[in-house]
C-alpha cells in the first residue's frame, strides 16, 4: 500500500523533473500551457470569450513549486511508510496524502484562477481530514474544525476577490490565448487593461491577501496552525510546513501583477508579514511541546515570506518558500523521529541528551537547526538574507520598510534563540525522560499527583535544570498517539520501546532525513547573492541566479523598476549580511548560556520575568480574546438551543459556530409546529411585501 502511494509520488517527481527539463531547454520567456478543453466560455456581446480553460501551466515559478511538492512530498511519503507503519488507519492515511499531493499540484499548475481555487479548496479539505486523522481524540477533531472555520474566512475573501476579478476583467485566465477560436486576454498579461478605478485594484489585492492569510496562517488568522499539530507528524511536515501553508505565498507571487497595481496592498502585506514573524517567534520562545515550537516557527517563517512579498521581492519569497520546505520538513520529520523514539513523547522537558541515542536524527536535526537560524552556508541563510536585504532596499524608498527590516532582524535573533533552546533541550544535556513502563501516556504521567502542581513555576524557561515540571498553563499539547495497539507493544526488533530507552528510527525514516539534510545544506546555493558571486567571478550579475531563473514568472522588470537607482552597494550588503548573522549568533549564544551553561539560572530568570513570561506562555491571550469577543455574546444566544454536542470546539470556532447556531436557534422558534402559527407568519410576510411598496413611494 505504501509502495503504491509513495511510488505514485515518486513517479510524479520523475515526470515533473522530465517536464521541467524539457521546458527549461526551450524558451522560458513564455509559459508552457496545455489546454484540455474550454471549461467555461461565455458569449459576451456576441463574441465567445474564454473564461477559464481546463488547462495547466508550466513556467519557472510552477517548476520550482512542482519540484518541491513532488520531491519533498515523496520523501515524506517514504518517511510515513515507517512512521505510520503500525497505525490502523494506514490505508486511509495514504489515500488522503496522495489526494493532497494531487490537489497541491493542481493548485500550482492551474492556468487560471478557477482551477487554482479548485486546488485551493481541495488541499483545505485534505488538511481538514488529516488534522482530524486521529479522530478518537476530541482535541484532534476540534483542531480540524478550527482549521476549517478559520479557513472559511480566508476562502470568503478569496471568492469575493475571484468574482471581482471576473467582473472586472471578464476572464479567469492568468495569461491570454492569442490563437484559436477562443482568443482572449488574460488577467495577468496586462492587469491594468480594464482597471480604471484604483479602489477596485486595492479591493482585489486585499481580498486575495485575506485568502492568503487564512491558508498561510498569518495574523490574525494564524490560530489554526499550531492546533493543526494534532495531525500525524508527517502531515505536519508536508501540509503544515512545506507545501499547503505556502499556497498563499505562491498565489501572491503568481498574481503579483495585480498587487503591483495597488502598491498600498504591498505595504499591508509586508507589515502583516513582519508582525506575524515577530509575534509567532515570541510565542515560540516558551513553548514546551516540540511540535508546537516548530509550528510557531512555521508561522514566523511564513511571515518572512510575506515580508518578502510585501517588499516586492517575489522571487525572494519563493526562494525562502523553497529552502523553508527543505529545512522545516527536515525539522518536523526529525521531531517525528524523536517522538517515535520516545514512544510518543513530545514534551521538551522530558528529552535531553538524545544525540547519544539517536545519532542520525540528531545530526540531521542539527543541520536543520543551522539552516533555519540562517548561518552560512546553510540554505536558510541565503533566503533569509535576501529577504532582509530586499526589505532594506525598499526602505530606501519608503522609510516604513526600515521599521519592517528592524522587526525582521529582531526576529532573526528570536528564531535563533528558540530553535537553539529546542536543540539544546532535546539533544544536549542529560536525558530527562523517565524510563517509565510503556502504556502510561505522557499526559497521564504529567497529571500524576506526585508531580508539582501546575503553573506554580514558569516551566518552559527553567527546563535545563528542573526535570519535568508540568504546566497546565501551557497549551494542550498535541501528542502523536498511534491508533492501533501501538508499536511499543508489537515491538519491531531494534526498538527499545519496552525498556523506555530511546531508539533510533528505521531506515525508511532516516533516508528522508539525510536527503533533506543535504538539501538544507546546499539548497540555498542557487540563491548565492550577486555581491558574493561577483566577488568570486568578477562578473556583474543582476541578482541571484534564483531570481534570474524566476524573472519570467515574477517579473524582473517591475521589481527592478521599483528599486532602480537604489541598488545596494557591496559594502552595505556585507554589513546587512553581517548584521543578520550576528543577530543569529547572539540568539544562539544567549540560548547556550541559558540552557547549556545555566548562567543565569533559567528558572530564576523566568521568575524575575514572570509577567511577560506568562503572557507569552498564554500565546498573547489571542484565543481568549477571540473567545471573549465572539463566543460570549454567541453563547448567550445559544442558550435557546437544546443541549447537544458538536464535539469540543474551542476558541474562535466555538464562537462563530455558536453565533450561527444561536441565530438559528432564535429563528427556529418560528418553527413551532403549529399550522396556525405558520399561517400568521405567512400573513405577516404578505403584509410586509405589500407594505414594502406602500412605504417605498
Amino acid at each position: 500500500m505504501a509502495t503504491v502511494a509513495a511510488g505514485a509520488v515518486l513517479g510524479a517527481f520523475v515526470v515533473a523533473a522530465l517536464a521541467v527539463t524539457e521546458y527549461l531547454s526551450g524558451d522560458t520567456a513564455e509559459p508552457f500551457r496545455q489546454h484540455l478543453y474550454p471549461w467555461i466560455a461565455w458569449d459576451i456581446g456576441g463574441r465567445t470569450t474564454l473564461i477559464a480553460a481546463a488547462g495547466l501551466l508550466l513556467d519557472p515559478l510552477a517548476c520550482v513549486m512542482v519540484l518541491v511538492i513532488t520531491g519533498v512530498g515523496f520523501l515524506i511519503h517514504l518517511y510515513s511508510a515507517g512512521y505510520m507503519g503500525h497505525d490502523a488507519g494506514f490505508g486511509r492515511f495514504f489515500t488522503y496524502l496522495n489526494l493532497f499531493t494531487f490537489s497541491m499540484l493542481l493548485l500550482v499548475l492551474a492556468d487560471n484562477f478557477l482551477l487554482m481555487f479548485v486546488g485551493w479548496e481541495l488541499v483545505g479539505l485534505c488538511s481538514y481530514l488529516l488534522i482530524g486523522f486521529w479522530f478518537e481524540r476530541p482535541s484532534a477533531a476540534s483542531a480540524g474544525k478550527k482549521a476549517f472555520v478559520v479557513n472559511r474566512v480566508g476562502d470568503w475573501g478569496m471568492l469575493v476577490a475571484l468574482f471581482l476579478i471576473w467582473s472586472t476583467y471578464g476572464t479567469f485566465q492568468f495569461f491570454g490565448q492569442r490563437t484559436g477560436a477562443l482568443a482572449s486576454a488574460g488577467v495577468l498579461d496586462d492587469p491594468g487593461r480594464i482597471l480604471t478605478d484604483g479602489s477596485v485594484a486595492l479591493a482585489i489585492a486585499l481580498l486575495l491577501f485575506v485568502g492568503a492569510t487564512g491558508k498561510s496562517a498569518q495574523v490574525p488568522l494564524y490560530v489554526w496552525l499550531p492546533d493543526a499539530m494534532e495531525g500525524p507528524t508527517p502531515v505536519s511536515a508536508l501540509i503544515h510546513a512545506a507545501t499547503m501553508v505556502t499556497a498563499g505565498v505562491y498565489m501572491i507571487a503568481r498574481t503579483h501583477s495585480l498587487f503591483l497595481l495597488a502598491p498600498e496592498s504591498l505595504v499591508v502585506i509586508g507589515t502583516i508579514g513582519a508582525l506575524t514573524a515577530v509575534f509567532a517567534a515570541t510565542i515560540g520562545l516558551v513553548q514546551t511541546d516540540i511540535k508546537r515550537v516548530l509550528a510557531y516557527s512555521t508561522v514566523s517563517q511564513l511571515g518572512y515570506m510575506f515580508l518578502a512579498l510585501g517588499s516586492g521581492a517575489f522571487a525572494a519569497g519563493i526562494f525562502h518558500l523553497m529552502t523553508h520546505a527543505f529545512f522545516k520538513a527536515l525539522l518536523f520529520l526529525g521531531a517525528g523521529s524523536v517522538i517515535h523514539a520516545l514512544n510518543d513523547e513530545q514534551d521538551l522537558r522530558r528529552m535531553g541528551g538524545l544525540w547519544r541515542y539517536l545519532p542520525v536524527t540528531g545530526l540531521t536535526f542539527i543541520i536543520g537547526w543551522l539552516a533555519i537560524i540562517g548561518l552560512p552556508p546553510f540554505a536558510g541563510f541565503f533566503s533569509k538574507d535576501l529577504i532582509l536585504a530586499k526589505t532594506f532596499e525598499r526602505g530606501l524608498e519608503e522609510p516604513w520598510y526600515f521599521v519592517l527590516y528592524g522587526i525582521g532582524l529582531l526576529t532573526v535573533a528570536l528564531t535563533a534563540f528558540y530553535m537553539s533552546r529546542l536543540v539544546f533541550l532535546a539533544f544536549f544535556g542529560q536525558y530527562r525522560g523517565a524510563m517509565t513502563a510503556p502504556g502510561i501516556t505522557p499526559t497521564q504521567a504529567a497529571m500524576a499527583p506526585e508531580h508539582e502542581p501546575a503553573a506554580a513555576v514558569p516551566a518552559g524557561l527553567s527546563m535545563g535544570h528542573n526535570p519535568i515540571t508540568p504546566s497546565a498553563a501551557s497549551a494542550p499539547s498535541a501528542h502523536d498517539t498511534h491508533r492501533s495497539d501501538g508499536h511499543d507493544v508489537r515491538d519491531a526488533p531494534g526498538h527499545g520501546g519496552r525498556t523506555g530507552r530511546p531508539h533510533e528510527s528505521p531506515p525508511s525514516m532516516l533516508i528522508p532525513l539525510v536527503v533533506l539534510a543535504l538539501l538544507s545544506m546546499v539548497g540555498g546555493w542557487v540563491g548565492i547573492p550577486a555581491f558574493i558571486s561577483d566577488a568570486v567571478t568578477g562578473g556583474h550579475a543582476t541578482g541571484t541566479p534564483f531570481e534570474q531563473f524566476l524573472a519570467p514568472s515574477v517579473g524582473g522588470q517591475e521589481g527592478a523598476a521599483a528599486t532602480a537607482g537604489h541598488a545596494l552597494d557591496v559594502t552595505t550588503e556585507w554589513i546587512l549580511t553581517g548584521a543578520s548573522v550576528g543577530m543569529a549568533g547572539l540568539g544562539v549564544l544567549v540560548a547556550a548560556m541559558l540552557y547549556l551553561a545555566g548562567v543565569p539560572n533559567p528558572s530564576s530568570l523566568a521568575g524575575a520575568l514572570r509577567g511577560p513570561y506568562t503572557w507569552l506562555l498564554n500565546k498573547w491571550y489571542v484565543d481568549e480574546l477571540y473567545q471573549a469577543l465572539i463566543a460570549h455574546p454567541g453563547a448567550r444566544l445559544a442558550s435557546f438551543l437544546a443541549a447537544f454536542d458538536l464535539g469540543v470546539v474551542d476558541g474562535m470556532v466555538n464562537g462563530v459556530a455558536r453565533l450561527a447556531r444561536g441565530t438559528g436557534g432564535v429563528l427556529r422558534q418560528l418553527q413551532s409546529g403549529y399550522v396556525r402559527g405558520y399561517a400568521v407568519t405567512m400573513l405577516i410576510g404578505a403584509f410586509c411585501v405589500l407594505a414594502y411598496w406602500a412605504f417605498r413611494t
Binding site: 479548485v118 482530524g132 472555520v149 472559511r152 470568503w156 471581482l164 427556529r668 409546529g673 410576510g685 411598496w693
Partner: protein
C-alpha cells in the same frame, strides 16, 4: 360576445399530453399488474412513458410557438428545458422510490400515477403563457403532492405532513389567486404577453386578442403592485422562500423520503420556472419595483435556511433547510434579471436537482422500513461500513456546499457572477457569505461519516439496485456537470430565447 375556437396546436402540448397519458396508462395497467412484481411492471411503464415525453420535448425543441392555444401555452425552448428537467426528476424519483415502495408497502399504482400527474402540472407551469395556466399547473402539482406527502399511511408524521401541507398550501393558493385577480383587474388580461403589452412592452407571447394598452401616463396602479406582491407570496410559498417557508421542514420530515426528494427539487423547479415566466415576460418593465423586494426575500431566505440548518439533528430536516437556502441562492439570480441570471437559474436548478436527489437517494439507501435511520447520528462511521454510499454522500455534500469542481460550485458561481454583473454587489457578497456558512453543516455530515465511531449497528442493508442506480446517476451527473459545465451552459443559452 363572440366565440372563436382557437387554433389547436397539439404539438405544442405534446410532452404534457404524453406525461398525462402515461399517468392514465399506469392507472389502467395497475388493474392488470401481476400482484407480486406489480411495482416493477408499473415503474417500467412509467419509465417508457417518460422516455416518450423526453423524445417529444426534444422533437419540438426550437419549435417556438410562444402563443399556442390562444396564448395559454408557450411552447418555447425554455419550456422544453424544464420539460426535460422534469422528466429527469421523475425518472430518478421512480428509480429511487422503487425499494421504498416495497419496503413500506405503498400502493404502487396510485403512487406512480400521482407522480406523473404532478409532473404534468409542473410542465404546464413551466410552459404557461397565461396566469390561469400557472394556477392550473400549480394546483395539479399541489394536489398530487398533498396526497403523496401522506402516502405512508401508518405513520402519524406522514399524515401530519399531508394535512399541514394542504392547509397552508390552500391558504397560499388564496393569495396567489387574489394576486392574479388584481393583475387581471388592472391590466384587463391574464395572458402574460397581454399584461406586458398593457404595461407598454411589445411581447411575442401576447395572444391575438389583447385588450388595449393602459394609458402610458397612468403610471403603475397600486392595485397592480399589490397583485404582484400577492403573486410573490403564492409562488414564493411553492418555492419555499422565507418567510413563506415554514411548511417546508415539517412536510419534508414527515413525508416518505422518496416523496421528499421529489418535492424538494420538482416543486421548487416548477415554482422558479413560473416565477421567471411571470416576472420576466409579464412585468419586465417593473423590474425596479420587484427586484428590491425579491432581494430582501433572497437575503432572508439564505440567512434562515443556513443558520437553522446548523441546529438540525434529522438529515431530512437538514436537507429541508438546505433546500430553503438553495431557493435563496436561486432567487439571487432571479433578482439579477439578466439573461445571464436566467441562464444561471436554469443551470442551478439542474445542478441542485442532481445533488439533492442524490443526497436523498443515499438517505433512502441507508433508511429502513418506517423511516428509520434518518438522524444525523445514524451516519456515524458510514464512510467505512458503506464506502460507496459514503463517497457518494461526500460528493453530494461537497456539491451542495459549493466546493469545486462539482456541479454545485458552478451553479453558485454562475449565480453570483450574474448578480455581480447586474451590479448587485451587496447581494452577491452576502450570498457568498451565506454559502461559506453553509459549508459548516454539510461538512458535519462528512465529518460524522468519516470521523465518528458508529454508536449502534444499523444492520446489513437490503440490496437496492434501483435506488443505487439513482444515486449513481446523480453522482455521475454532479461530477460531469462540474467538469463540463459549458455543455449545459450552452444549452441554457439556447433556452432563454424569451429574454430577447
Amino acid at each position: 360576445m363572440q366565440l372563436t375556437v382557437p387554433q389547436l396546436d397539439f404539438w405544442a402540448i405534446a410532452p404534457v399530453l404524453a406525461m398525462t397519458l402515461t399517468g392514465c396508462a399506469v392507472l389502467v395497467a395497475d388493474l392488470f399488474a401481476p400482484p407480486r412484481r406489480g411495482h416493477t411492471f408499473l415503474a417500467l411503464i412509467s419509465l417508457i412513458g417518460l422516455a416518450i415525453t423526453a423524445a417529444l420535448s426534444l422533437a419540438i425543441w426550437d419549435y417556438n410557438q410562444p402563443a399556442a392555444f390562444a396564448g395559454t401555452v408557450a411552447a418555447d425552448n425554455f419550456g422544453q428545458f424544464f420539460n426535460l428537467l422534469f422528466v429527469l426528476i421523475v425518472a430518478v424519483t421512480v428509480l429511487l422510490s422503487h425499494e421504498q415502495l416495497e419496503r413500506d408497502e405503498f400502493h404502487p399504482g396510485e403512487y406512480y400515477t400521482l407522480l406523473l400527474f404532478s409532473a404534468a402540472g409542473m410542465m404546464l407551469m413551466a410552459g404557461a403563457g397565461d396566469l390561469i395556466m400557472v394556477f392550473l399547473g400549480l394546483e395539479l402539482l399541489s394536489i398530487s403532492l398533498y396526497i403523496l406527502a401522506g402516502f405512508s399511511r401508518r405513520r402519524l408524521e406522514s399524515e401530519e405532513a399531508s394535512i399541514k401541507y394542504l392547509l397552508l398550501g390552500s391558504f397560499a393558493t388564496g393569495f396567489l389567486l387574489y394576486g392574479i385577480a388584481l393583475v387581471y383587474g388592472s391590466t384587463g388580461s391574464t395572458n402574460l404577453g397581454c399584461v406586458a403589452q398593457a404595461l407598454g412592452n411589445r411581447s411575442q407571447f401576447a395572444s391575438a386578442a389583447c385588450p388595449t394598452a393602459l394609458g402610458a401616463s397612468a403610471g403603475v396602479p397600486a392595485m397592480l403592485l399589490a397583485g404582484i406582491g400577492l403573486l410573490i407570496v403564492g409562488l414564493g410559498f411553492k418555492a419555499a422562500v422565507a418567510p413563506f417557508h415554514l411548511w417546508t421542514p415539517d412536510v419534508y420530515e414527515g413525508s416518505p423520503t422518496a416523496v421528499t426528494a421529489y418535492m424538494s427539487v420538482a416543486a421548487k423547479a416548477a415554482a422558479f420556472a413560473a416565477i421567471l415566466r411571470v416576472f420576466l415576460i409579464a412585468f419586465p418593465s417593473l423590474v425596479s419595483d420587484w427586484s428590491g423586494m425579491l432581494a430582501v426575500i433572497a437575503i432572508m431566505t439564505m440567512v434562515v435556511g443556513n443558520t437553522v440548518a446548523i441546529a438540525q439533528q434529522n438529515i431530512k430536516r437538514l436537507l429541508a433547510y438546505s433546500s430553503i437556502a438553495h431557493a435563496g441562492y436561486i432567487l439571487v439570480a432571479v433578482v439579477a434579471a439578466t439573461s445571464l441570471g436566467v441562464q444561471s437559474v436554469l443551470f442551478y436548478t439542474l445542478a441542485y436537482t442532481l445533488m439533492n436527489l442524490g443526497a436523498f437517494a443515499v438517505v433512502i439507501l441507508l433508511g429502513r422500513r418506517g423511516e428509520e435511520n434518518v438522524m444525523l447520528a445514524d451516519y456515524a462511521g458510514i464512510g467505512y461500513r458503506q464506502p460507496f454510499l459514503g463517497l457518494a454522500m461526500t460528493v453530494f455534500m461537497l456539491s451542495l456546499a459549493g466546493i469545486p469542481p462539482t456541479a454545485g460550485f458552478f451553479g453558485k458561481f454562475y449565480i453570483f457572477s450574474a448578480a455581480m454583473q447586474a451590479g448587485q454587489y451587496g447581494l452577491a457578497v452576502l450570498g457568498i457569505l451565506a454559502s461559506v456558512i453553509s459549508v459548516y453543516y454539510y461538512l458535519r455530515v462528512i465529518y460524522l461519516m468519516y470521523m465518528v465511531e458508529p454508536s449502534r449497528d444499523l444492520g446489513a442493508p437490503a440490496p437496492a439496485p434501483w435506488a443505487t442506480a439513482a444515486a449513481g446517476i446523480a453522482v455521475v451527473g454532479v461530477v460531469l456537470l462540474g467538469l463540463f459545465p459549458q455543455v449545459i451552459l450552452d444549452w441554457t443559452l439556447a433556452s432563454i430565447g424569451f429574454m430577447g
